[in-house]
C-alpha cells in the first residue's frame, strides 16, 4: 500500500500500543521477566546519550512540525473562523461554520454519495478479491503467473485508472460503452448520475482489488495445514473447507481490509474523481474529500472547507482506532 497513503494503514505500533504502565509500576510487574526490556521499544543494549538521537530525530520532527502539526492545528482553528475569500478580514464565529455545514443540503447529499460510493467500492473490491484469492489458493499450476498479472493495477495511478475507464466507458468512443449501447442501454456518465457513480466505483475497485488480493492470499497461506487436513479427512470438500475453516480464520484480515478500503475510498479516490467526473454531473460524484478541495481552492469558502476538514479528521481518527482494535484481534487469532 502506498506507504503514506497507507498512512492510516499502519497498525504496527506493537511494543508501543496498548496500556502503558508508569515506570515504577512497570518495574514491579516486569521484575520476574529478569532482564526484559525495562522500557518499551528500547533495546536492552542501548546507548546513553541525548545529543546524537536529538539530531537523528530532528529532520523527521521538523518536517512533521512544519507540514503536519501546524497545518492540523490551523485547520482546527480555521474551522471556527470566517475569512473572506481575499483573506483580508478574519473573525471568530464559534460553531457557525459547522451549523452552516450541517444545514446545507449539498453537504448531506455529498455525504450520501460518499457513503454509497465507499460501501459499493468496498463490497465489490473485497468480494472479487476473495474469489480470486480462493481460486489461486486452490489451483496448483500457474499461481505465480496469475499473481503477476493481478498485481499490475498497483502500479497504475488512481488518476490513470479513472482516465482509462472513462475512455472505455466514453459514450462516443469507448468500446465498452458501445457494447452497452448495443445491448440497448442508454449509457452516458456525463448526464446520468448513477452511470457516473458506477464509473468511479469501478475505477476505484479496479485499482484496489490487487491490494486486497495479496493480503488475502497471504492470510490463506497462513491457515494451519493441520486443521485443513483434518477437515479433509472428515470429508469436507475444498469449497466447504474454505467457507467453514479458512474464511472464519482469516476474519481479522477481512476486518483489516474493510477498514483499509474505507480509508482508501474516503481519501485516496480524490484523484479518480478529479481526473474523470470532477464531482459531476450535478454533484453526483462529489465525494466529501473532493468537496473539501472544491470549497477550499475553487469557491474559496475557507471556513466551510476547514469545518469539512475537521469532520474528515474525525472520520480518519475513527477509522484509525477501528483499525487498531481489529489488529489486536488479528494478533490473537493468528496461530
Amino acid at each position: 500500500m502506498p506507504a503514506r497513503n497507507n498512512t492510516a494503514a499502519l497498525p504496527v505500533a506493537a511494543g508501543g500500543g496498548g496500556l502503558r504502565l508508569r515506570q515504577p509500576l512497570r518495574r514491579l510487574f516486569l521484575k520476574s521477566a529478569g532482564d526484559a526490556q525495562s522500557e518499551s521499544g528500547l533495546k536492552r543494549a542501548h546507548f546513553q546519550e541525548w545529543r546524537l538521537p536529538f539530531w537523528l530525530l530532528a529532520p523527521q520532527l521538523f518536517i512533521l512540525l512544519l507540514f503536519f502539526f501546524i497545518p492540523s492545528i490551523r485547520a482546527l482553528i480555521q474551522a471556527f473562523q470566517l475569512t473572506d475569500p481575499f483573506g483580508a478580514t478574519t473573525q471568530w464565529v464559534g460553531f457557525q461554520n459547522f451549523e452552516r455545514l450541517f444545514r446545507s443540503s449539498v453537504y448531506w447529499s455529498s455525504a450520501q454519495v460518499t457513503l454509497i460510493f465507499t460501501i459499493a467500492q468496498n463490497v465489490l473490491t473485497l468480494s472479487i478479491a476473495l474469489l480470486l484469492a480462493f481460486a489461486s489458493n486452490h489451483i496448483l499450476r500457474g499461481r505465480g503467473a496469475y499473481r503477476t498479472v493481478l498485481l499490475l493495477p498497483y502500479a497504475v495511478a488512481p488518476a490513470i485508472a479513472g482516465i482509462m475507464l472513462a475512455f472505455l466507458f466514453n459514450p462516443r468512443v469507448g468500446p465498452v460503452a458501445h457494447m452497452l449501447q448495443g445491448l440497448g442501454l442508454d449509457w452516458d456518465p456525463n448526464r446520468n448520475s448513477w452511470h457516473a457513480l458506477s464509473l468511479i466505483v469501478m475505477a476505484a475497485s479496479w485499482k484496489h482489488i490487487c491490494y486486497n488480493y495479496i493480503f488475502l492470499v497471504a492470510a490463506l497461506l497462513s491457515v494451519p495445514q493441520s486443521i485443513l487436513e483434518s477437515a479433509y479427512l472428515d470429508g469436507a470438500g475444498p469449497v466447504q473447507r474454505f467457507l467453514r475453516i479458512s474464511l472464519p480464520m482469516i476474519t481479522p484480515t477481512l476486518f483489516f481490509l474493510i477498514v483499509i478500503n474505507f480509508v482508501y475510498g474516503l481519501f485516496e479516490t480524490f484523484a479518480i474523481v478529479d481526473a474523470t467526473t470532477r464531482g459531476g454531473p450535478a454533484g453526483a460524484t462529489s465525494i466529501l474529500v473532493y468537496k473539501v478541495y472544491q470549497d477550499g481552492f475553487v469557491t474559496l469558502d475557507l471556513g466551510s472547507s476547514a469545518a469539512q476538514s475537521v469532520v474528515l479528521m474525525a472520520l480518519a481518527l475513527l477509522l484509525t482506532f477501528a483499525q487498531f482494535r481489529f489488529v489486536e484481534r488479528r494478533v490473537n487469532y493468528s496461530v
Binding site: P2, A3, R4, T7, A9, L10, V12, G16, E39, S40, G41, L42, K43, A45, F47, Q48, E49, L52, P53, L56, L57, P59, L65, L66, F67, F68, S136, I139, V149, L150, L151, L152, Y154, A155, V156, A157, P158, A159, I160, I163, M164, F167, V173, P175, H178, N190, W206, P238, V263, E268, F270, A271, D274, A275, V289, V292, A306, S309, M313, T320
Partner: protein, 296 residues
Amino acid sequence: MNEHTPILDAVCHFILLVGAALVCLPIYFVFVTGSLSQPEIMRVPMSWLPGNQFLVNMQTVLSSADFGRLLLNSFIIATGITVGKLAVSVIAAFAVTYFRFPFRMTAFWLIFMSLMLPIEVRIVPTYESAANVALPLNILGSWLGIQALVDLDWNLVNTYSGLILPLIASATATFLFRQFFLTIPEELCEAARIDGASPWQFFRLILLPLSRSNIVALAIILFLMGWNQYLWPLLLTTEPAMANAVIGLKKLMPQSDSLPTWHLLMNAAFLTMLPPTLVILILQRWFVKGLVDSGK
C-alpha cells in the same frame, strides 16, 4: 491431501482468467488507442488491434505537451520522496530504539500521531504552510511585534522541494524500521560496544547492512507511491512545466467541444504507467514483501 477435483480446478482457472482479463484489457486498450491515428479512434467500432502510430503519437506527446519534462519531474519527485523518506525514517527509528534519552517516548508518539491524519483532510492549511514555509515565524513575529519576522516569506510553490519535502515525513516507514530493529539480537550491539564502536559506527557498519532487504522492499513501495502522487502536485504547481506526469494527463483530457485527442491522452497514459509497471514486474518478490510489511 491428494484430491482430484477437475471441475473445481477448471472453474478456478476460469475465474482467474476472467480476473486477469479484467486487469489486462483496460491496459491493452490504452496501448491500442495510443497507437491509432485521430480518424481511426473516431471509427465505430474501434479497432481491437494496435495501429502503427504509436511512435508518431509519442513524438507529438513528448514535444507538444512537453511530456518528457513531466516524466522527468515524476522521476525526480518519486526518487526524492523515496530517498528522503528512507533516510529520515531509518535514523529516527535508530534513535528511538537504540538510545535512552529524555522525551524518547514523546518523540515516538509525535511521529505516531502523524499516522492518523492523511494529507487529504487538511489540504488548505498544508498548502498554506508550503506556500510560505516561514509562516510559523510570521505568527511568532506578530505575537512578539517583530516586523522583520512578519515579513519573512519563503515560497515552495512550483519547486521540487515543495513537491518532495512535505511528503517525506513517514510514520509508516519509521515504524517498519523500528519493528525490524527490535528483532535484531541484542548481542550485536553489545559486541559492537565491547569492540569500542561508536553509535554511528554501529549504525553504519552493522544496522544498515542488516536492514538492506527491508530498505529495498520499502523503496519500491515508496517509489510507486511517489510516482503516482496526485493531490499534492495538483495543489502545489501552477506552472505546467513543474507538474508531474499524472497531473499532465489530466490536462490532455479531451474537452467536450474540441476534437477529442484520446489517442494522445492514451499514449501519454501508457508512457506514464510504464515505469512503475516495469518496477513491479522486475522486482516482484521485493514488491510483495514491501507491500505486506508496510501494511501489517
